[in-house]
């Protein structure tokens, strides 16, 4: 099966266009790409982007000695977007913060991923009726993993990182598409 940017095995499996576009954006199974994906999966450096309460659970408690994100090698918390791979949107995105979220996302070098952590990042959560809250991170940037919970537990965040690792290494998403 020859894999190019345009033609991709997933098109034979499903005709849901959003899924195809999503998979193409992230995975094209050239052999060298497979090796790089393996390396990328094992070293997803999060961008320390704490907005609200989820930042305490997602950035601080997950790196804390008890849950220890460093076991996966993801504890290199780079605050400069240039050296980060994953943008962990942890907290409520308000209208005043939205342009900065988009600018930081664009400053990150490709390939990059986004984890929307907490109800606020998924859909504005408790503040969805507010006049000043963006209802969800996917209104601004493409999101790869959604972690529901109003401040999800740190081990739920670890679970999300492992789901993202499986997605980066191309294991899970393809099986689901079938």
């Amino acid at each position: 099966m020859d894999v190019t940017r345009e033609q991709h095995p997933i098109e034979k499996m499903t005709n849901d266009s959003s899924l195809i576009q999503q998979v193409k954006r992230v995975i094209h199974l050239a052999p060298l790409e497979k090796i790089f994906n393996l390396a990328r999966g094992y070293s997803l450096w999060p961008l320390g982007f704490g907005l609200a309460c989820c930042a305490i659970e997602g950035l601080m408690a997950t790196n804390a000695p008890r849950f220890d994100l460093s076991r996966f090698g993801y504890e290199v918390l780079r605050s400069s977007p240039r050296q980060a791979d994953v943008m962990l949107v942890a907290g409520t995105i308000t209208n005043k913060m939205a342009p900065y979220v988009v600018r930081l996302y664009e400053q990150m070098p490709e390939p990059k991923w986004v984890i929307a952590m907490g109800s606020c990042a998924i859909s504005g959560g408790p503040f969805v009726d507010s006049y000043y809250v963006v209802p969800g991170a996917d209104k601004l940037i493409p999101v790869d993993v959604y972690v529901p919970g109003c401040s999800p537990r740190p081990d739920a965040v670890l679970h999300a990182f492992m789901m993202l690792r499986d997605k980066v290494q191309g294991k899970v998403v393809l099986e689901n598409a079938r």
């Binding site: 320390g48 982007f49 704490g50 907005l51 609200a52 309460c53 930042a55 305490i56 659970e57 601080m60 408690a61 790196n63 804390a64 000695p65 008890r66 605050s79 907290g91 409520t92 308000t94 005043k96 913060m97 900065y100 930081l104 408790p126 503040f127 009726d129 507010s130 006049y131 000043y132 809250v133 109003c150 401040s151 537990r153």
Partner: protein
């Protein structure tokens, strides 16, 4: 003389040491700050507007999201304000459970303050130790109300559920081990000469100016002003416990830091006495299912973790509040930041901002 040019530097909304999305525009003459203009509002979720569309009980989970490091204190402040408005008598056991949970929340909030301050000055290890000990409090909260950070445990008229029976032994074990941990922080962070060189005589806050600018909590007591609502205007059952209020001498970053560690020791003392005097009995007063407080308004203040936390509740007799205003200590403590940072270097702005211990959920409300 060589004409030097001022540069403006954005310690922007996304910066590791602004404890969240806080933006300080620094005008600098090569590392010496000439003007520090704070810009906040990046986390303004309009909670006061949302309050007008929710009933009194439904607003309780929103108070957790204000100062998300000390959720119990926010709940207690709001709930006591509504009880004062409706003149509800809270049973004894509920009062004691509230004191225990509030003091635990205060310790958790101070642990984060101490930990992030150690990171701001550069010592990451101190941060990790504080978080390791904070996890113990998280377990206690999970036992009591099911979630770690956004607790919503208090109800108008008492508490949601009684303490589980494995709570008291776990709490006593925590009380026995915590003092040795506090000594460890003193040894690692407070005693360190480099830390002292970075924080002593930095960001001096004069008591008169502190009172004039409405600064409250550990920042005010560090300047030597004796004002702690638990002592000066005892609410709930705080008058039954004896504890000291630590005061600082110079009102610099070092005093603000050590005041927080001493306050943790005092909170442990309060919890120990509260556990000994914990009476039996109901945890919830007789409260109608649908609360309709009489029309009128009330302003009630408690001693939050960051300072004086006040709730101004206006009710028009319906089951939804007409207006709720939260007097947020972090927001008001920031009013003086500009003058406080003038003349210091970037590293000191980080130290001063960290010593004020602000939480952005509370600043932007």
């Amino acid at each position: 003389m060589l004409r030097t040019e001022e540069i403006t530097l954005n310690m922007g909304p996304q910066h590791p040491s602004t404890h969240g999305v806080f933006h300080v525009v620094l005008k600098m003459d090569h590392e010496v700050i000439t003007e520090a203009r704070p810009i906040c509002g990046y986390l303004h979720r309009g909670i006061e507007k949302l309050a007008e569309a929710r009933t009194y009980t439904q607003f309780i989970p929103y108070t957790d999201r204000l100062d998300y490091l000390a959720a119990m204190l926010n709940n207690t402040g709001y709930v006591q304000a509504v009880e004062k408005l409706m003149e509800i008598e809270v049973p004894e056991r509920a009062e004691y459970i509230r004191v225990i949970c509030c003091e635990l929340s205060r310790i958790a909030s101070h642990l984060i303050a101490v930990g992030t301050y150690s990171v701001d000055i550069g010592g990451i290890t101190g941060f990790m130790y504080c978080l390791r000990d904070r996890e113990r409090i998280m377990d206690l909260f999970e036992m009591v109300c099911g979630s770690r950070l956004t607790l919503s445990y208090m109800r108008i008229g008492g508490v949601a559920e009684d303490l589980p029976d494995e709570f008291i032994p776990a709490l006593c074990q925590f009380l026995d081990e915590m003092p040795s941990r506090l000594d460890e922080y003193d040894g690692l962070i407070t005693g360190n000469e480099i830390f002292q060189a970075r924080t002593k005589h930095v960001g001096l806050l004069d008591p008169g100016v502190a009172i004039n600018y409405g600064i409250s909590g550990p920042n005010l007591r560090a300047s030597g002003v004796f004002w702690d609502l638990r002592k000066n205007r005892p609410y709930s059952v705080y008058d039954r416990f004896d504890f000291e209020v630590p005061l600082g001498k110079r009102g610099d970053c070092f005093d603000r830091f050590t005041c927080r560690i001493k306050e943790m020791r005092q909170s442990l003392k309060i919890i120990r006495q509260a556990v000994e005097q914990l009476p039996e009995g109901p945890v919830m007063a007789k409260v109608p299912k649908v609360l309709k407080p009489p029309a009128g308004d009330v302003y009630h203040e408690i001693e939050g973790a960051k300072g004086i936390l006040g709730y101004y509740v206006v009710s028009d007799g319906s089951n939804k509040p007409y207006r709720i205003h939260v007097r947020r200590p972090s927001f008001i403590n920031l009013g003086f930041l500009n003058e406080l940072c003038k003349g210091w270097k970037i590293a000191d702005v980080v130290a001063i901002l960290g010593s004020l211990d602000i939480v952005l959920g509370e600043v932007d409300c």
